[in-house]
Amino acid sequence: MQKVTREILLAKAAELLAAGTVNRVLGWKAGEFTYDVTPALFTTAAELEKDFVYGPFSGANFSKYLVKETRRDEGKVLVFLKPCDTYSFNQLLTEHRFDRERVYAVGIPCDGMADIQRIKDQAGDGVSGVECDGDNLIVHTLYDGDKTLAMADCLAERCVNCKSKKHVAYDELIGETGDVIDSHRFDEVEKLEKMTEDERFAFWQNELSRCIRCNACRDVCPACTCEKCVFGNPNSGVENKAISDSFEEKMFHVIRAFHVAGRCTDCGECSRVCPQNIPLHLLNRKFIRDIDNFYDEYQAGAEVGQRAPLVNYKQEDLEPSEAVERSGNNA
């Protein structure tokens, strides 16, 4: 597979800008450290040349940015989409959240993105920079010099359990598109299902009690595109960012999981951005697995305009009582 490099993307962006196909580019630029890459908007080739970066931390899913970006201006916006991003892209189109005509989508292949937490776990404290070197990462540390880690050991969970290398939407492809992968992404959910109720409660209590209500998961989630969020309501009692309760008493994460049920493409952005490393994607995956089990396999965003099973009654649908029976104590 062709490796995507900064140069290739720069050249493509410059070409499309010059041709007038697009008048702005959604891309990444470096933050304080090489590993806190942030999304940014570029309007000229010069800006791109100066700040545009691409590397193992360019993991942000740009689909959601299109909701606001396409409203902002006339003309098209260029967006680079990894295979997993294209599912969110389609799901947002299904929900009419942006105008397809305002977007030029370039599909880029992806071998997986790195998770800085996994790097820190292996390289110790004081990581000051990370560089790519073939299949390895060179990690600069403040106290311990450079360390070489295998990229395979640093992949984010969503990339280890990558569900698809296939681009389901694009105007143009760099390299080649791949296939849907028979991944092991539900293994972790199965483990949770096998727990007793008490064990499962303890597991989630432990995880969710760390939540600081920074709203990063909500803000990054491509399924969370409400004009006004229910949690933005001052009367909801959940607006505060401070930890006002020990454990999800206001059920922020559970309500959020319900809100995105059937629409979540399992892009994994929620867990990627969580500063407390809460495995939020597991809540969504449980929904996806249940939907698969009860209503046949369904991948949100696989096609534009598809009808999600939860909001599409069919006569052969499972009776609710049967669903309860089948899922036993996991209902």
Partner: protein, 664 residues
Amino acid sequence: MQRIGVFVCHCGTNIAGTVDVKAVAEALRYEPGVVISTEYQYMCSQAGQDMIHEAIRENNLTGIVVCSCSPRMHEATFRKTAQSAGLNPYMVEIANIREQCSWVHKDMEIGTEKAIILGRAAIAKVNLNAPLTPGETPVTKRALVIGGGIAGIQTALDIADAGFPVDIVETKPTIGGKMAQLDKTFPTLDCAACILTPKMVEAAQHENIRILSYSEVQDIKGFVGNFTVQIKKKARYVKEDICTGCGLCTEKCPQKKVPNEFNLEMDNRRAIYIPFAQAVPKVATIDPNYCTMLKTGKCGVCAKVCTAKAIDYTQKDEIMEEKYGAIVAATGFNPISMKPFDEYAYSQSKDVITSLEFERLMNAAGPTGGKLLRPSDGKHPHTIVFVQCVGSRCSAHASKGKEYCSKICCMYTAKHAMLTRDKYPDTDVYVFYIDVRTPGKNFDEFYRRAVEEYGVHYVKGMVGKVSPEGDKLMVQASDLLADKQLHIEADLVVLAAAIEPDMSARPLATMLTASMDTNDFFTEAHPKLRPVESPTAGVFLSGACQGPKDIPETVSQAGAAAAKVIGLLAKDKLKGNPCVAGSDEWMCNGCSSCERVCPYGAITYVTKEFRMPDRTTALRRVAQVNEAVCQGCGACTVACPSGAMDLKGFASSQIMAEVDAICK
């Protein structure tokens, strides 16, 4: 702040027997917004209503809560009372402390506590109620009758006679239904065809009736007064308007081995066929499963012999869309399968038959030309055993059969026994029964005649086993009155199979959102007081699709359903339901979730310019509800991911207030 009046009803002892109504009124007096709380013997009586009327006037009430029976019973009554006192009718809430409280509790203390909680919830809701005004919708003055049996035909005729156009949709190539297959009818013994076929012809010739035979309902959208129905006209490969029904093709067709379903497959028909001589429409139909031309492209005999040039092998299924104001379900019944009842050896011997098959054997147009001959060897049977209640009145825990009584079997078995003895006095006829149930005008007299004048042996008891031995059927049965086992060497055994709703009823109910019972019979709006209406407005029930029925009962119900339809179609406009959905455009994402779940097509989208909080202007796609079309089902409010959809009168805030009040 609302000024709320609370009125607690005793309903005689119906409520007061298990609920301390005085304590309820006292407890609710101190709820937020309540200015008066009182109780009375019968709130729905004129005196009770006057009391509410007075209280509204005297206390300037802005809302009332009536703690009484189910809102289905008297909500309309109390809304009218409130309206007469100058209050908006939608400021009335009913706390159901009868069906959902006093009737299900035995303990006064628990009942009282629950009644207070239910009252409190209703008060919490009224505090958030707002006056609502219903809109009006026009009525499409045309009815659809689904099913062309005697029920459907009678309903259609009665509606058509009142001057409204009616379509009958029938899946079979002809109307007539089960009655067309019958020989004689009880209790008068006049021939079924003689009384049915004139009605079929009348329906065909009626200027207001259109018969869509060989057609199926595929999809139903809309609501009372405004249904849109998709009907599939199946290809019959014969031009209906040209075919003269001469029947030449059905004689010349070389494919002779097609089981004849009209004679319950006891003989064969051709691949091109007219079900029976008096079929309406009298038009041939090609059975695509057997036609050699359609299957292999080689034959074409029927096209060659047809002088009218009516054969068209290229015909395709046709989908038509029609609008109706009312829909009548008349899908009828079928005998149940005898497969699970093999103790009667139905699948082992051709001489064990069902009553409907017996009906065909006795019919002059049947496979034997009306002679009672054994299907196995064509010999005349001498000993005939009738078994009643096969699959009817089974225990709820039984692995097979129906719990209900099929109602018609006692009478038709008496008829069969009587006719047999009348035509063939040399026969011995036994009828095994659990009970003989013959209520109905002249019904018991009829049964007594079978026993007393025709010498039919009625034996109380069930047949345990039928075993074929040689050309005989060994019947083992118990005679409960004589307390002994009987062994009868029979030539023919006739099973009175239970009846069940037609298979098409369940999918139809789903399309109509009409409710059904566990046996797939359509449920009435009220078992006693609204027996021909479905709880779904604009949907009416005719015939055996609502429950087992004989012909006289079916015809009277068909007429009653027609009267209800006429009452609806006679109106120019229907008052709508003001409890409709509305979208908060500032919250709406334009995601189309609501549009996709709306069963009435009431939601459309517009792209509008919005001034955004950051002082920019943005074009946003937002949902809009057509209030005339919305039926207030609330599906959209649940589907909406951002909570932009809400239902007037049942707003999320109101429901939450009720829940909070209950959980307080």
